[in-house]
Symmetry: C2
Subunit: 323 residues, 2 copies
Amino acid sequence: MSNLDQIAKLAGFSKATVSRVLNNSPHVSPETRDTILAIMKQLDYVPNGNAVSLSKGRTLQIGMCAEGINEAMLPFLNSFVETASQNGYQTIIYTSGGDAKQELKAFEELRRKRVDALVIITCVNDHALLGSYCKYGPIVSWQRMELPEIRSVAMNQYDGYKLGVEHVIEQGCTRIANVLGRPSSMNTLSRLAAYEEMMKKHHLPIRHEWSLTGIYSIRDGERVVRELLLGGGEHPDAVLCANDLVAAGLLNEARRQRIRVPEDLAIVGFDNTELAHTLGITSIDNPIAAQAQNAFYLLLGKLNQAESVQQKLQFSLVKRVTT
Amino acid sequence: MSNLDQIAKLAGFSKATVSRVLNNSPHVSPETRDTILAIMKQLDYVPNGNAVSLSKGRTLQIGMCAEGINEAMLPFLNSFVETASQNGYQTIIYTSGGDAKQELKAFEELRRKRVDALVIITCVNDHALLGSYCKYGPIVSWQRMELPEIRSVAMNQYDGYKLGVEHVIEQGCTRIANVLGRPSSMNTLSRLAAYEEMMKKHHLPIRHEWSLTGIYSIRDGERVVRELLLGGGEHPDAVLCANDLVAAGLLNEARRQRIRVPEDLAIVGFDNTELAHTLGITSIDNPIAAQAQNAFYLLLGKLNQAESVQQKLQFSLVKRVTT
DNA sequence: ACTTGACATGTAACGCGTTACAACGGTTAG
DNA sequence: CTAACCGTTGTAACGCGTTACATGTCAAGT
């Protein structure tokens, strides 16, 4: 492995000049540049990334912190990685598996200068703890955050959810259930608030036992059918789901149980993923890719780009066969 | 930001001793250790990751190179990231979007010592070019590789595919179609070979126009219905799909076109993902998570673990409602 | 009493680029 | 003819830990 010193000696210049060539400094004569480039090519030289990071004080790496990678976050992940890559940044994935200790390691990497910034997909630790890492570098969250110092690219779920509630009401549904994710998250609270407001507006009854939380996956969605639709007494005639995965599980299990969709049960997903398209699930479109771009530009402090992306950010409802 | 020098001065010891404390060297007296630890805590010190990587000559980071992240690779991705994390390694995602230049950047990161090793999910560049990077660090591929020097954790698709072909023949199908991925990849060739062998064995006709390639996604799967099942003349009565995504698209579009599954058409997926479970697609189970673990241990040169994982590596067929 | 060795700690070089500042030769303005 | 300046290149310190080797101390072994 050759290093900068060797290049300098062979070329007959100082390290500084070689470094200038590497960094495209204008203060190098064309002949010198050519000479040095030739030697570098000859020795098959590339600068050591760690040395560069150490002396420059930045790594061009951004950490992404999540419990695990699932279908729901793929659009965000892909869009973020791509945007970062276009700007010369790489993305490191930290998964915690829901373990706070493990997640903390990701935060520490910011302090240790292994990454220049952090994107938080999910945060298991206390938000205040996360906030205490803000002094080590920029942090942006996809989720809504309680802490003002951590910026978030999440949109107010309130508006999106209202679209869904309004839609099923227009379809003639009156017994509307909610299937939600993390119990006390801002998302869940916003969605519930939207639900209650719309129900009140239309003078429909709010049945709290029809709002389930802690539902995330396909399998969770299947379980919901039993809990919500198979017991005795009255059943909902519409379910708004935490995401399309849940909607898919619900749809599938409902059909297996001979519940007719949408005649007996309307189902609305969230995020409008490929899966919703495939299964024909009505879903609330959430411009996730644009949020990811925003996240990146916010981290870089390039607000202008983020603002220009902002315009794309609004919910819409895509009607398919489940409503 | 405090550094090791400051800790050493404040504690009244040399840098070397402080470093020993950081690295849990046994050659430090307990009192010294306590003193130094106390100072470190007081100054809120953590060692700079880049400096550590530079002097140790390794980063504890592994690069993962793919065209983009999709559902099909999530089990691999998650399993790999988790295994790596348990062993103190982090995973950096490089996506190329199918661009060879972009992919090359990922390879370069190995040479530049930004990552200690590489896992290749898909390789757009010439395999020989990838091979030329072997001298910079360990490389393992998920895909089968033409080059012997690059190890692969892919299983021989031949065996798995045979299960699928045999299964649909047992179900009474005789006009069997293949829907495959990358045209000339080893996977595709193996699968075709398995198909031809089984068809010959059962004296069934091989119709080359029923083997499509370049099909990867849900939408591709939907398209296949038009190409394979809607024209005039004879149609296949079974389709083996490149993966579960394709199977899902195919199933969905087939139903939309009033083709009865499995009566008129049997569908078999590949990989046995969550999606196959959800949609009730018969699928060939591919122990992807175990392959990912293998990949990691191969990279580390810890063959023993890899071998112990090896036992789990065999295909099986999971029958569901599409056959 | 003397060697041998274990243990604790220090010294200094090393890994590899980057960059502030200095220096040198030559040009141009006054 | 000189001061001011530009372009080119070098010097040396810096970013921050790690580690091979050296040194000093004290106890066990003979």
